[in-house]
Symmetry: C2
Subunit: 222 residues, 2 copies
DNA sequence: CGGAAAGGTGAATCAGTTGTCATATTGTTG
DNA sequence: CAACAATATGACAACTGATTCACCTTTCCG
């Protein structure tokens, strides 16, 4: 209602932002709101229709703005996808990080992390679709997502190795294996069919981490 | 979409013209050859350009036929994709099955299978792209691919459990975890960057199967 | 051999998109 | 409040690319 002096500077750090902010970053609270509405609408629309089937008109309709308004904030369909992936990636990582801070050791962190990921995917199904489709629109955003994710993961595994919580081994490779597992388990059991409880899944994977797949015994083969 | 068109030509309705064989299966050696050329061209074109960027004209140009010829054998772009996924899926499974027949036990089969998969993906990079894109064109083909793959995998794990080669556990869940691992490892280390040898990858995963991730010891924590 | 069926052609059609622009509305500021 | 800047509008020009169709060419077989 009243003009607050700080309203104008509400947008975070406009100066020297690395990523191109598109045609024009909003300079008003109203503009920022509209831009956010469009971004959210794009998430929903891409999530249900898919990137290619979704038209700009679908997005603007969902956002409740005219088609032209879209181009006030985004250069085109590809750019909004990039923005979206960056945004969503940030959110998942933040969410998962928060969920595992209080884990006692690495095994527990893996359990909590997997469960949280499955739950998150179930609650945000758009994430999967937007991300996977982005892979073929602009591979670099996709790689960026998983490499960022992987960097954090690797740091944690390295810590755990140092603490003696996990066996020494090639943690880079492990990270990709683990991300792949989560991804497929999420697709199958969180998005397609919830016919197996998350607890059961977590227990199965936890057992794999604790005991491997083969029977006990230090030497199985010469 | 193409429903209305065929009514005009009073071809006395071939019984059960549901959707399977396309407009017309080739009835001549020449036709079969042309159809195969188009299918191969589609694989290459989808593999490099991607499903959406690839036009029918790109496919027919690569195959060395006119645009119209395409529709002699395929109902449209989606159908040829379906055909392709089915075809490619069949090939990978056959290839992998052949590579692991002579494995002594399950662990060895996993090692051979993973290595063969990485190698196959490296030599047939189109597989990954075609398959992943198919997911968003017609999810059912994609599911069909992994479910077929998973059924075979599950059978082998069940066998191994029976033989006492692997610990008892939820093999369905394991199958999806294992497929996810291979998938991501393949994407990262066979398609993106071959900066880690396949041997190293296989060794790392083999170690995971043999010993798990955590240090030895039946009970780690209460 | 001859003609019918199968195979092949490619320009034309047609549906659906994106991105633009002249114009209208809203908010800010001196 | 008047002038100005930022936002918002929506019709539409320009383009893309899938599919059709009327008409040739090749192959098959009695």
């Amino acid at each position: 209602m009243t003009r607050t002096a700080s309203l104008k500077t509400a947008t975070p750090a406009p100066a020297g932002d690395a990523a191109q902010p598109g045609p024009g970053a909003p300079k008003t609270a109203r503009g920022a709101r509209t831009r956010a509405r469009i971004l959210k609408a794009a998430e929903d629309t891409f999530g249900t229709l898919g990137y290619h089937r979704a038209g700009i008109s679908d997005i603007t309709r969902a956002a409740g703005v005219a088609q032209g308004t879209f181009y006030t904030y985004f250069a085109g369909k590809e750019e909004i996808l990039r923005e979206l992936v960056r945004d969503m990636g940030h959110q998942v990582r933040a969410h998962l990080a928060a969920e595992i801070v209080d884990a006692g050791d690495r095994l527990q962190a893996e359990e909590k992390g997997l469960r949280a990921f499955l739950q998150y995917l179930f609650e945000h199904p758009s994430l999967y679709r937007v991300l996977q489709e982005a892979q073929f629109v602009d591979e670099s955003i996709y790689r960026e997502y998983y490499e960022a994710f992987g960097r954090g993961y690797l740091r944690m595994l390295a810590d755990a190795t140092r603490k003696g919580e996990i066996r020494a081994g090639n943690n880079e490779v492990r990270v990709w294996a683990l991300m792949g597992m989560s991804n497929f388990l999420g697709l199958r059991y969180a998005l397609w069919d919830r016919d197996v409880s998350f607890d059961e899944i977590v227990a199965t994977i936890s057992d794999l981490f604790r005991n491997g797949l083969t029977l006990e015994g230090p030497e199985k083969n010469p």
